[in-house]
């Protein structure tokens, strides 16, 4: 599963880690995050994220 980087603050969403602080279980793909999920560090929405090139 692909990692995604926040264009605004540089936070990396790693599907292996999820975002447990905000109720997202480890193993959740970025595409499966709820539409109202926001960057846990700077609050912007999913549309501000870009796939990380490996």
């Amino acid at each position: 599963m692909k990692k995604y980087e926040c264009n605004v603050c540089g936070y990396i969403y790693d599907p292996e880690q999820g975002d447990p602080d905000n109720g997202v279980e480890p193993g959740t793909a970025f595409e499966d995050l709820p539409d109202d999920w926001v960057c846990p560090e700077c609050f912007v929405g999913k549309d501000e994220f870009t796939p990380v090139e490996e």
Binding site: V8, C9, G10, D21, E41, C42
Partner: protein, 401 residues
């Protein structure tokens, strides 16, 4: 007014003795907007001041350097308290090159007409040679906006730390050893709690990156410059980034006809156990700034409101909205409050505490009209529970470290 940090590195900022409201933050001791001038083969100004004080900045710079000789303006952060005078400086020094990162350039362009500006864009690890001195840039996003960065002068071990380590503190002095240090640290704590508490993880990353530098002096963008007590502010930040709990219980409340106040005092009485600091904050006698500061190191918190029109009191609602945005972590607590013919206040408070990710220790503690002796006894027991939980949380952290 200027003040030397090192030979040919001078503070040229503006001390704002009069500001008492910094976008809602009650700045009881005023503030300063710190700007620094480095004179070398090439000359650089690091950050500016809030727009109304641009003339003071330009006057201070001209005491040391003709404006036509300013080569670079380093902008570490575009927020108007630091970047507000960038336009005025560029207008007075059209030859100047604005040195900043891409995100900061975009934000500056949102606040100023930058169409004629000269730019040099930099990122982490990039350097700018001035002659005898070299500036190295370190991007520190979210400390305190996405554009934030720090600038390091390797020859002196000097870190321009932007909003990190700042304080809203007006003084005729510039350095930490010229001030009552406990007061400066208290203001640094208030600043951290009210401005950047929500950014604990980005700040941890910035601290880690900065720890690889040989730092002898930290010059923030507000308040006192750290040169003798760096160990104390760095240690404090290590605690604050994780909202390290201390054995402290905070009881916050608003009241209408004293019933919720009676409950608050009974909770405080129960929480006032050996080894515990218990504090009572009547929100209308204090303010949201104090609420955030007291929350930073409290382990447990009770928040009370009577019921007004089926919900909580607006002043408590505002305080909880403020706290939620600041994202205090690892807190436990509960809500309480009185009601008349219908409930609603304490439950509304609990919903906010849940959204702020507090561990909820019990159902809302409620009483109708006036608390009976039984209700007050329940309040004392709930206060004791807050104290016990505060000690447990504190011990858990101590045993981990």
């Amino acid at each position: 007014m200027t003040r030397s940090l090192f030979p040919n590195i001078d503070w040229v900022g503006y001390v704002d003795w009069t500001v008492r409201d910094f976008h809602g933050y009650q700045t009881r001791r005023g503030s300063s907007y710190n700007s620094y001038l480095i004179r070398d083969t090439k000359n650089a100004l690091v950050d500016t001041v809030k727009a109304p004080y641009a003339c003071h900045l330009l006057k201070s710079v001209t005491e040391l350097l003709p404006l036509a000789k300013l080569d670079y303006l380093v902008v570490n952060h575009a927020e108007p308290d630091h970047g507000g005078s960038v336009g005025a400086v560029v207008k007075a020094c059209p030859q100047v090159t604005v040195v900043t990162n891409k995100k900061c350039q975009a934000i500056l362009s949102g606040y100023h007409d930058t169409s004629n500006w000269n730019w040099q864009l930099v990122g982490t690890g990039d350097t700018l040679e001035l002659g005898n001195r070299t500036l190295t840039f370190l991007e520190t996003p979210m400390v305190h906006w996405p554009d934030s960065m720090m600038t390091y002068v390797s020859q002196d071990g000097l870190l321009f730390s932007m909003d990190g380590f700042g304080q809203h503190y007006a003084s005729c002095h510039r350095f930490d050893d010229e001030e009552p240090i406990e007061t400066v640290l208290a203001e640094a704590k208030t600043y951290y709690a009210n401005i950047i508490m929500w950014a604990g993880k980005p700040i941890q990353r910035a601290l880690e990156a900065a720890s690889k530098l040989d730092i002898k002096m930290i010059a923030p963008s507000h308040g006192t410059i750290w040169r003798s007590h760096m160990d104390r502010i760095l240690a404090a930040y290590q605690d604050w980034v994780v909202c390290k709990p201390s054995p402290k219980v905070l009881v916050v409340y608003d009241t209408m006809w004293e019933s919720t106040a009676m409950m608050a005092r009974a909770i405080l009485e129960g929480a006032s156990q050996p080894g515990i600091t218990a504090k009572l904050l009547y929100i209308r006698a204090g303010d949201y700034t104090e609420l955030a500061t007291e929350t930073l190191d409290a382990a447990t918190i009770a928040v009370g409101s009577p019921t007004l029109n089926g919900g909580m009191m607006p002043v408590i609602g505002g305080g909880l909205t403020y706290l939620k945005g600041l994202r205090p972590i690892c807190k436990a607590g509960f809500s309480f409050g009185s009601y008349g013919w219908s409930k609603g206040g304490a439950a509304a408070v609990q919903r906010e505490l849940e959204e702020t990710k507090f561990e909820i220790l019990r159902d809302p503690l409620e009483c109708q009209y006036r608390p009976t002796p039984e209700v007050l006894q329940e309040c004392r027991e709930a206060g004791k529970m807050l104290a016990d939980k505060a000690l447990a949380l504190t011990c858990a952290v101590e045993s981990k470290s």
